[in-house]
């Protein structure tokens, strides 16, 4: 098996507060290969904070600590802000939820994509434009020349998110973290946007972390799934086998989902056990042990 693209051991993110420190993320350990890894959990479970901490985007007063945080052979813990800026975009990239807010409203989308290319690859204007047009083509935008000149308010949500993906992948990163990339989109375009992301991630041999609250989406798209609760990973399972999940939290969530064709008078409500908050000290193994390859 090839070496992991990303190795995380005992990651924690702590926010100081008046009544003591709050650990938004704790005891998080996993490694990512050339696979699609899903992180699911409810709001406040620490899934987005985990993604941001890896990207070096958890800002003070948050404190990030880890025994190991390796991107390839780069130790992310010892990088200066300047070094991190070079890595972000070039080696690792992030797609956020709503393209309306993550695109610059006063710059044409093509220029935004080209800017990434120029920044990280030191290319000329002409080279960057050519690369941006190719990239727009790669995310299945039919008329790249026309879309290149468009401004973010002129594009639909689905197109905006494909433009974000183009921008994030143009400098050839090996890790893509997508935080709820399709939650702001219509259900009918979700699959298309994910297919395009999947196609590019596969072609380029990248690793993908998909952060989402949507259990169905993650289990049908990813290879492996981490389930987070109260800042910790409580379960790791093969995505296809989410139905066999063992942890009562995962099982409770699955049961609470309404299902087509299985109408219940009353949906079972999640009963939270205080014991789920206890520190999990030994890193979990994937339930089937196969992992993603």
């Amino acid at each position: 098996m090839d070496a992991p693209l990303l190795r995380v051991r005992n990651l924690s993110v702590t926010y100081p507060s008046d009544d003591g420190d709050f650990k938004a993320v704790r005891n998080v350990s996993f490694s990512l290969r050339r696979e699609r890894l899903g992180i699911v959990g409810e709001s406040g479970s620490g899934k987005s904070t985990t993604g941001r901490a890896i990207m070096g985007l958890a800002r003070p007063p948050a404190r990030v600590a880890a025994d190991e945080l390796l991107l390839g052979d780069i130790d992310l813990r010892s990088q200066t802000e300047r070094q991190l800026r070079r890595l972000r975009g070039k080696r690792m990239a992030m797609v956020l939820q709503d393209p309306k807010y993550s695109l610059d409203p006063v710059m044409s989308v093509g220029q935004q994509i080209a800017e990434t290319h120029r920044t990280h690859l030191n290319s000329s204007r002409a080279e960057a434009k050519l690369a941006a047009l190719e990239m727009l083509n790669a995310v299945h935008i039919r008329d790249p020349e026309r879309v290149y000149a468009m401004y973010p308010h002129q594009v639909s949500g689905g197109m905006g998110q494909r433009i974000m993906i183009a921008m994030m992948l143009i400098a050839g990163p090996e890790l893509l973290i997508a935080d709820e990339p399709t939650s702001a989109l219509d259900v009918t375009v979700q699959s298309q946007v994910l297919s395009i992301m999947d196609e590019l991630v596969r072609e380029r041999g990248m690793g993908l972390i998909l952060i989402s609250h949507n259990l169905h989406l993650v289990s049908s798209f990813c290879d492996r799934v981490l389930v987070m609760y109260a800042g910790q990973i409580v379960e790791i399972c093969d995505a296809g086998r989410l139905a066999d999940a063992q942890h009562p939290y995962t099982r409770g969530l699955l049961a609470a989902l309404p299902e087509l064709g299985r109408r219940r008078e009353e949906l079972p409500q999640l009963q939270r056990d205080p014991a789920w908050m206890d520190d999990i000290v030994t890193p979990l193994e994937t339930t089937s042990g196969k992992g993603g390859a």
């Binding site: 409810e42 709001s43 309306k100 299945h140 935008i141 039919r142 308010h153 002129q154 594009v155 639909s156 949500g157 689905g158 197109m159 494909r162 219509d186 259900v187 009918t188 375009v189 979700q190 699959s191 298309q192 946007v193 994910l194 297919s195 609250h213 949507n214 259990l215 169905h216 989406l217 289990s219 049908s220 798209f221 409770g252 969530l253 609470a256 989902l257 309404p258 299902e259 087509l260 064709g261 299985r262 109408r263 219940r264 008078e265 009353e266 949906l267 079972p268 409500q269 999640l270």
Partner: protein, 264 residues
């Protein structure tokens, strides 16, 4: 109280800029029934809900509640009968008003009196105690806020409850609580419900009959059972059904992507 829509059209703009947000919508919901509207954003489902609530005027067609046609101006009594719950409880509750103020306002507007008893009864109805009565929205969780929004709708003792994506801003575990609350309210109070959602499983959980909307029109009226069996005719219903099952590796029709209207 029954809801009947006859060829209802809601229009924005004039002349060349005219846009029909809903076109020739005809549907009828029996008293005590829960009826669902599904579709993509921009398909007109919320527009229909607002037309029933009287929040926007309809250009053509008839909106009838309990057999009475609603005019341009509704009477206070007519408005009291139809109440609405919105998607985002973070946006729909006034941040500077306590739960008590939020719930007392409709009572004052409709001059019902007996505010104290009504507020505590409404809170109890949605499973919240007196401890929450003098809190501000920021002191409540998302699920508690949505309960307050439901209590605000119930406090006027309406006969029709309009639900616009009532659980899509909530976590899965909280969604189950709110859905259970809504089914209990329908059972116990005999409310007629018209619910909008993009989540077929949520709609089919609460509603027996479901209309699918696309570009302002109802393209298919079906049942929860038919949806579950995949027994649907219209391509946009089939597309919705596929999308609701999670990631669809076939990817669907890419042309559809570029056809999506600009989202405000």
């Amino acid at each position: 109280m029954s809801i009947e829509l006859e060829r209802v059209t809601v229009t924005y703009g004039k002349g060349a800029k005219r846009f029909d947000a809903a076109r020739n919508v005809t549907l009828s919901v029996a008293e005590g029934e829960a009826f669902g509207l599904v579709g993509e954003s921009g398909s007109g489902k919320s527009t229909v809900l607002r037309a029933v609530a009287g929040l926007i005027p309809h250009a053509q067609g008839r909106v009838m509640l309990a057999g009475t046609e609603m005019g341009r101006k509704r009477s206070t009594a007519q408005r009291k009968m139809v109440q609405m719950v919105f998607q985002d409880p973070y946006g729909s509750l006034h941040p500077n008003q306590t739960v008590d103020q939020t719930l007392s306002m409709p009572i004052a507007i409709h001059k019902l009196g007996d505010a104290d008893r009504r507020v505590s009864a409404a809170l109890e109805e949605v499973g919240m105690g007196p401890t929450h009565r003098f809190r501000y929205p920021h002191q409540l969780s998302g699920g508690q806020r949505q309960r307050i929004a439901i209590a605000r709708a119930l406090i006027l003792e309406p006969r029709i409850l309009l639900l616009d994506e009532p659980t899509s801003a909530l976590d899965v575990s909280v969604q189950a609580e709110i859905l259970n609350l809504l089914s209990r309210l329908r059972r116990e109070l005999g409310l007629t419900m018209l619910m909008v959602s993009h989540d077929l499983a949520v709609i089919a959980h609460l509603c027996d009959r479901i209309a699918v909307m696309n570009r302002g029109e109802i393209v298919e009226t079906t049942t929860a059972d038919a949806l579950a069996a995949g027994d649907v005719q219209n391509p946009s219903t089939q597309q919705l059904l596929r999308s609701n099952k999670g990631f669809d590796p076939s990817g669907g029709d890419l042309d559809l992507l570029d056809a999506v209207p600009i989202r405000g």
